[in-house]
Symmetry: C2
Subunit: 123 residues, 2 copies
DNA sequence: TAGAGTCACTTACAAAGAGTAAGTGACTAC
DNA sequence: GTAGTCACTTACTCTTTGTAAGTGACTCTA
């Protein structure tokens, strides 16, 4: 009777959040210790300011990322860190990385530049 | 010296393939045993013919899905199945599902319809 | 202290992708 | 032989992304 058996909106939301363009690499950079806007950007070739700012705001709204402006002394530059929710994505990221490494296409060891799935669709 | 330390194009490609709109639910439906076009579509509310056809072709090209037209006798209706590469995504899907279940927002137990991350951005 | 540089964004516009809706051809049931 | 289902396509519109050029707050240098 339930036509949509096996479908789970919570899963759907999660996979699109994680998989949304640039979000995977952004979360990975944050897990790797990057915590400033420019630092994240410089670690991800192809990612622009506009999209990074947008993605960080979305991730913040989803409770994955936290933005803090250390009003201490020196700089007013904001810092981005993962929340507990964000840190708990580590195993997800790890399992994707493992799958990717296992099925890495033959010729993509070091020369491969970050061609996306979308890019490969353009002829 | 390497500005893009920690960045991995193989990971980037993988996370965008898995997270590309509708791909997560499609792979999950296939893992759950759906093998015909209409069956996959009916399990995923909101997914249209156009996008399902497109996504299946992309997944086929990526070697995740296999399309077979059983030329046997009865029907000419094609069947879709996961390849070995596709089946090996099971742990990835599982870890996303676990994360999603753990961080499911309070009011989304059963009433939540499949609102995507994108939808929540529209005001 | 004037001017150049860096940082974290924002805005404007064109191109690509996704949603909506209405076909199409092959087959099947009545 | 006509109506219905199935697996797609095509045409059109709206949303998201990419590209490029600002902007204001701050810092460093002469």
């Amino acid at each position: 009777m339930d036509e949509t058996q096996g479908y789970c909106p919570v899963f759907h939301r999660a996979v699109e959040l994680i998989g949304r363009r640039w979000n995977g690499p952004i979360i990975r950079a944050l897990l790797d210790g990057a915590d400033r806007f420019g630092e994240i950007r410089s670690r991800i070739p192809g990612l622009t300011d506009r999209l990074l700012a947008q993605r960080l705001r979305e991730l913040e709204r989803e409770g994955v990322v936290e933005r803090a402006c250390p009003s201490s002394s020196a700089t007013t530059v904001p810092h981005y860190t993962l929340t507990t929710k964000g840190h708990s994505l580590a195993p997800v990221i790890e399992s994707i990385a493992q799958w990717a490494a296992a099925w890495e296409p033959p010729g993509s060891t070091s020369s491969a530049q970050g061609r996306s799935v979308a890019d490969s669709r353009r002829r």
